[in-house]
Symmetry: C2
């Protein structure tokens, strides 16, 4: 597997990303999977994070594993997470390895364990990671500066989706089988949404309750039912997106309505997911104004928004349904 | 864990069930989990089963593991599975261990790996097992003769739901954490659907496409949206049911309409699931006539039907919506 990543990254001056950051994060995903596998007793750890979510013991364990992994990567200067949404140095400046030996300098933003509500019933959950060029993600153009994203997928197997869009290189989306102790293998080196015609169309309607107040959302749902789309909605952003990627088709909608506010964290959820979707040939837009998720820079780490993403054609249909004649 | 099972089963003359059949099946669930964890390359094995489903390599592996486990249990006389839906002796009559040393005699019917369509995207899948008194499940009253059911749940962790309803004993539903090499532990010894009022109501609408032709099904879906139920629908019967059990509330609907035929196998899916639901205080009925799933005996191993199951109150609401003034 290493040589394939080397071919993709070394010609573009990404030695540390290739040989340090990505391997450390993939190994960390293996460690989080093992930690989840051992955690038969899922419990609230007692705290709430900055977004008001109750923290589970497994959230905290995943957070700690990722922080420790990043501290070992000299090129990672800054880190922040959904559990502690403030950009901070990735390690104690006194610690060994604190000085980067390369010209590469990265900021990593992550949601250590996405899908808290479905951990207790033992459904597939995930980790979401975005990797940015430079020492901060704030006020940077996401479409240029976020150069890689990783989704860790914890189900019957452990897999990861890696999206790469480094300057000078072709965007690509990879599926990787995660083994123990660094024994990872490429499953697919070019994950792409399929072109029409589609054998089966899938839809994942988040916050379906909002359709009670939004005629436009209700009409869109009715459209999917009448056109015989197949429903798959786990309520976990990672498994819902990975379903669409693996099937080659799908649309995920997290609407924003008068009574239902934007739920997804831009930095920790939307940006990495949007990079994966774009690298696989799909679209990811804001349901409020139709703008690409990766266009508008971040002002603060705790911003939220809605999402329509997936197969480009389907995103267009959903956008038209929700925005009508707006942009 | 063993002593808790002993308290539940030994007073009712179920030594072999307690000390041989259940431990063998729980260990087998651990083995299937390990096999799935190692199977990064999910592929069609080339065949189709009697129900016309394409067989995956992981289906066949799970089938073989279960057959081998049952062959080691002297009290299991007969076995059949969704992959080979014919009742046959559980072992070669010449083989060692072929003579039961106890008066207990069981028939085991199983779906080795339910949820084929969601294995590739790495979503949680499951094993479904029903255990019957006597040498056959055919022409027997399911409500009396199916005395135990097990759901194996393969997600970030491995868990099992065990329902027991042996004559003379109290019905009970247990959640078990599956570890390696027989290291299992009770997570909950009395899994029950909650009583009203419900904080959050969940619904899982299978075959939602059918709502395009069924006004009654569409009205029921609209009811859930308007009443702000939370949607969770993975498309896997085991994870969908386990979600409801763990949350303490939920309703699962697999309708039968003019253009959408009955999809679920009575022997391999509906009967074990119905026993689990009833032992947890819920209801499981046929959406066509409202009859309890466990009432009507089986004529053939390959019979299918629809399903409404979950929280008793919710099953009543769905039944009324789909059947109207019928029975």
């Amino acid at each position: 597997m290493a040589s394939h990543l080397e071919n993709l990254l070394l010609p573009h001056g990404r030695t540390a990303l290739c040989k340090s950051v990505l391997p450390a994060l993939l190994d960390c995903i293996a460690d989080i999977a093992e930690s989840l596998h051992q955690s038969q007793h899922v419990s609230l750890a007692g705290g709430t994070n900055a977004f008001g979510d109750g923290q589970l013991n497994v959230d905290i364990s995943a957070e700690n594993l990722l922080r420790a992994a990043l501290a070992e990567c000299p090129s990672v200067e800054t880190a922040s997470s959904e559990e502690d949404p403030v950009e901070r140095p990735a390690r104690d400046s006194q610690a060994e390895g604190g000085v980067s030996a390369t010209s590469e300098k990265y900021t990593v933003a992550f949601d250590p364990l996405d899908g808290s509500s479905i951990i207790a019933p033992n459904w597939t959950v995930g980790t979401i990671i975005g990797i940015w060029d430079g020492g901060s993600a704030i006020h940077q153009r996401p479409s240029e500066k976020q150069i890689a994203a990783i989704l860790g997928v914890y189900g019957p197997r452990t897999t990861a989706i890696v999206a790469l869009r480094v300057p000078g290189g072709e965007p690509c989306c990879l599926e990787i089988g995660i083994g123990k102790s660094g024994a990872h293998e490429f499953l697919r080196s070019d994950m792409r949404f399929a072109d029409p015609p589609f054998k089966t169309r899938y839809f994942a309607p988040a916050n379906l309750r909002a359709a009670a107040e939004s005629e436009a959302y209700m009409r869109l749902i009715t459209h999917y039912v009448e056109k015989k789309y197949t429903l798959r909605y786990s309520g976990g952003l990672v498994p819902d997106l990975v379903h669409a990627l693996v099937k080659g088709h799908g649309v995920y909608i997290s609407p924003v309505t008068s009574v239902s506010e934007a739920k997804l964290r831009r930095l920790y959820e939307l940006f990495p997911v949007a990079l994966v979707v774009e690298c696989a040939g799909g679209k990811a837009i804001n349901p409020v104004d139709g703008e690409d998720i990766l266009t508008r820079p971040l002002e603060n780490c705790d911003e939220t928004a809605g999402l329509i993403c997936g197969t480009a054609e389907e995103v267009g249909i959903a956008k038209k349904a929700l925005l009508g004649s707006h942009p």
